[in-house]
């Protein structure tokens, strides 16, 4: 039975001893690390939520002593004049936005990823531009073009005698918001499409299906998971977005949840914090509910994944003449949706006044920039934005990596909880994060709050919290692409959990990390809603300064700042793109 028929055994090496790892209070260090992550996330996420919940059942502002618990706020909220209308508007707006977003994103994703398209690469990039601009800026841009007295509108009026659209309406708001959010849905669908097994389409073709048929019988149905996921995301984003409803809706009396919060919270004659809390809680509930819905819709997701055999090279479908329709559609989206408005904005920033009634070239000026760069406070706000976005992006991405590793790559008992916590902020509107954190800081022990309150740290925390989910979302897939066996191998060869990811696999995580940094940087650079409560004179950021300037009527400077912000974003993304390319080639 022993098969050693030739006795040529080399001297057996002495086995090296297994490495020893110190334990803290009997627990391995990875456990400490994992609990630390959990605790940190828990605190971070609960900080804004808890005060909001408390406020919602308190009969007076949190800061006034002797508050009594009462349901009155909810009663008042629901009996509030026109609250029903607000809910209805919000629903219409959110649903409209979601539908439009999908209508834009899905076909484009299919066209760009799955079919032979002229300038395919260009479009792939262009599709994502709107994402880099805050919908505040996009809103401005759109008004200057498509508003009742916008350039395009007046042009059209001169031509047709009337303007066939009305921007200041729920559809108008929805379209603008949809254009701003489409990139998100697009990215989800595009990734799914890139992953999908090409032989599914080949099979359809061999069965006799023409390209269009292939698209509709095979490609599109497979997109359900990304569609569901992104629509949930878009829906909750449009429920909480402030800028577009404020710019479009307010004048014509269309108020939605966010404007309701804004006017009742910040602007009203005497702000009713109770109602504010109640409304916030309501939004929280809605968004949380949505997440549940999503889970339900994606229950048997296997129905949308195919058995993968040997990796099949994706083959792009040849649409023939139809492709030009696609090209046209995408061009319209990119040009009219993003390019023109941004162009208009940039142009605006170089003129004193910008109106169809007067040739803007008469009033060319750099005064707007002089003002922006002339006042320390404004320059400061640009630096602040850079600081917040820069530091924030690094910190958040790092945190996200940790969260992903714990939730996806450990045997930690509470790993699912970690994931939920990391994704939870998605369901917390920015304003609420602002208000909530404001109180949270106020209640920090030993006046620690005083140190944080109104400083950049506060903003980094607030914005970071907002950006955490997208960071997590961008890292998780690339970590999951690293075979589990890679870390198993490290474990078996003697690295403990911590060491596995610090020394052995660290380098493999860097691309994912870098990707997350870019994404979070961009999101944090354009973020502003939490700052409305968290910022102070010396911690103003581009977003708040823009609002401020806008309120004062320095629209030119607003445009100038917007231009600066876009420039920064473009530069950063471009640079990062180059670096990343360098990486992946290596």
């Amino acid at each position: 039975m022993p098969e050693t028929l030739t006795e040529t055994r080399p001297p057996v090496e002495p086995p090296l001893p297994a490495p020893r790892y110190r334990r803290l209070l009997g627990a391995r260090r990875e456990l400490w690390a994992q609990y630390a992550v959990l605790a940190f996330l828990a605190v971070l996420v609960l900080a804004p939520v808890v005060p909001t919940l408390i406020q919602s059942v308190l009969d007076r502002p949190l800061y006034e002593a002797g508050g009594i618990f009462t349901p009155d706020n909810y009663v008042r909220l629901f009996t509030e004049a026109g609250f029903g209308k607000v809910v209805l508007n919000t629903a219409l707006f959110a649903v409209g936005t979601t539908v439009l977003t999908l209508l834009i994103a899905v076909p484009m994703a299919v066209l760009v990823v799955r079919t032979k398209l002229p300038f395919g690469r260009v479009f792939a990039g262009a599709m994502q531009w709107p994402f880099f601009i805050s919908s505040l800026i996009l809103g401005f841009g759109w008004i200057t073009l498509y508003g009742p007295a916008g350039f395009v509108s007046t042009a059209v009026r001169d031509w047709l005698g009337f303007v066939p659209w009305n921007l200041y309406s729920i559809p108008g708001m929805a379209i603008t918001e949809a254009v701003a959010l489409a990139p998100i849905a697009y990215v989800f669908c595009a990734n799914a499409l890139r992953k999908s097994d090409a032989s599914l389409e080949s099979a359809a073709q061999v069965c006799g299906a023409r390209p269009l048929r292939v698209l509709f019988t095979v490609v599109v149905p497979m997109l359900r998971p990304p569609m569901v996921y992104s629509s949930i995301l878009v829906f909750s984003m449009s429920v909480e977005t402030l800028s577009v409803p404020l710019l479009y809706g307010q004048p014509v009396g269309i108020s939605v949840f966010s404007t309701f919060l804004y006017t009742n919270g910040l602007q009203s004659i005497d702000p009713d914090y109770g109602v504010l809390g109640a409304a916030s809680t309501l939004i929280l509930l809605v968004t949380v509910g949505l997440v549940a819905v999503q889970a339900k819709l994606l229950k048997n997701a296997q129905r949308f994944v195919s058995v993968r055999g040997k990796a099949t090279r994706p083959r792009r479908l040849e649409l023939g003449r139809l492709k030009w329709i696609g090209v046209a559609a995408i061009s319209v989206y990119v040009v009219f949706g993003a390019l023109l408005p941004i162009g208009g904005l940039v142009f605006r920033s170089f003129t004193k006044v910008f109106t169809p009634l007067q040739n803007p070239f008469q009033t060319l000026t750099t005064a707007n920039y002089d003002r922006v760069f002339g006042f320390a406070a404004y320059v400061q706000s640009i630096w602040n934005s850079l600081l917040v976005a820069g530091i924030g992006a690094l910190v958040v991405s790092f945190l996200a990596v940790l969260a992903v590793l714990v939730s996806k790559r450990s045997t930690f008992r509470h790993r699912k909880l970690v994931e939920y916590l990391a994704l939870a902020p998605q369901a917390i509107p920015g304003i609420i994060i602002g208000i909530g954190l404001f109180w949270a800081f106020a209640y920090l022990p030993f006046g620690l709050g005083g140190l944080v309150q109104g400083t950049l740290v506060a903003l980094i925390i607030g914005f970071g919290l907002r950006a955490l989910p997208s960071g997590f979302g961008s890292i998780a897939p690339s970590v999951l692409q690293l075979g589990q066996e890679l870390d198993n191998a490290a474990r078996v060869s003697g690295a403990d959990w911590v060491r596995t990811f610090t020394s052995v696999l660290g380098r493999l995580l860097t691309p994912a990390f870098a990707g997350a940094v870019i994404l979070t940087f961009v999101t944090m650079l354009k973020e502003y809603s939490p700052a409305i409560f968290l910022a102070s004179a010396d911690s103003n950021i581009i977003g708040t300064t823009m609002l401020e300037l806008w309120v004062q009527g320095n629209t030119g400077s607003v445009a100038a700042l917007a231009t600066v912000q876009i420039a920064i974003t473009a530069a950063f993304v471009g640079l990062a793109g180059l670096l990343m390319k360098g990486r992946t080639d290596a």
Partner: protein, 375 residues
Amino acid sequence: MPEVTVGQLHKKFGSTTVLREIDFTIRDGEFFTLLGPSGCGKSTTLNCIAGLERPTGGRIAVGDTVFVDSAAGTFRTPEERNLGMVFQSYALWPHLSIAANLAVPLKIRKTGKEEQARRITEALDKVGLAHLKDRYPHQLSGGQQQRVALARALVYSPSVLLLDEPLSNLDAKLREQARAWLKRLQTDLGITTVYVTHDQDEALALSDRIAVLSEGDLLQVGSPHEIYERPAAAAVAAFVGRCNFLRGKVESRDGGRAVIRLEAGGAVVRVASDTAVTAGQEVTVAIRPEKFEVGPANRPADAANLLRTQILTRSYVGSRYEYDVRLGKQVVQVESTEPGLSGEVGLAFAPESALLYPDAALPSEDAEELLTLQV
């Protein structure tokens, strides 16, 4: 080198039980294989030994160091077990050169520089790849990667070597050669080895002993020869080597033989059996294709057991022929060196060369469907 003892190993994922009371002992220096169809729990068992999975119950020890003992609540993490492991996908770290890959476990063990260098070259020599030490994994062929993975598992001369389907990513041809090579290497090193595969040829060819698993149960542990010639259960016979299963009813016994009327074709056969079967009992007769002796259909039936069949298809398998023949509605597989058979043939077999299983055991649903004729 120590021996590996696995006792009452039990593993649940959530509510589904994946391993049920697995017991076996791997002798020092033995090449021990876990064999079973996909999903039967092989990798889980191996991962429990490696410490990558935490068993729900049971005990695992190497020599006298206890790795897991659910009773005593002891559990050693993988990094504390000092084992070598090779994964199906090799799991080489793509960002590290071959040498660097091998260096990692040594660095972790704080080995001196030259000691490191020595061990690395030695390990790479063993697998005949010393000349590629500065390449990166993606610059190697599958076969070479697989050997590097092995070298990385050996470089710190662990006490036990664990292999999870290390060959299954190689293409058919290379797999055979790699198999023979691996066998020689292990024989030379004499390191205790636990090997996981679902390929029975591999298992037979490589192993000193084989443990056959099925749906979380340990069916049989034995030498390849035992497993093949005296499978303890129909499932084993079905999985190891090809085997025909003929259902039937016991009519009577004479001496050490049972007289059985077969369902398919209705012939009466005699099968040697030590297991006590009683008249009227449902049984399964298992016969391997090469145990049949093919001859003319019209032959004095008294000689031995004889089945009348028609030839369906013939396939050439290199130096031998495989025939699918029809027995009633069932397909029976027969091996023969005769190329030209066709039409009616008689299959003879000796009572001793057939196996008898009391339960009406049958192959998988899939196999069942594949072996019954529609027309």
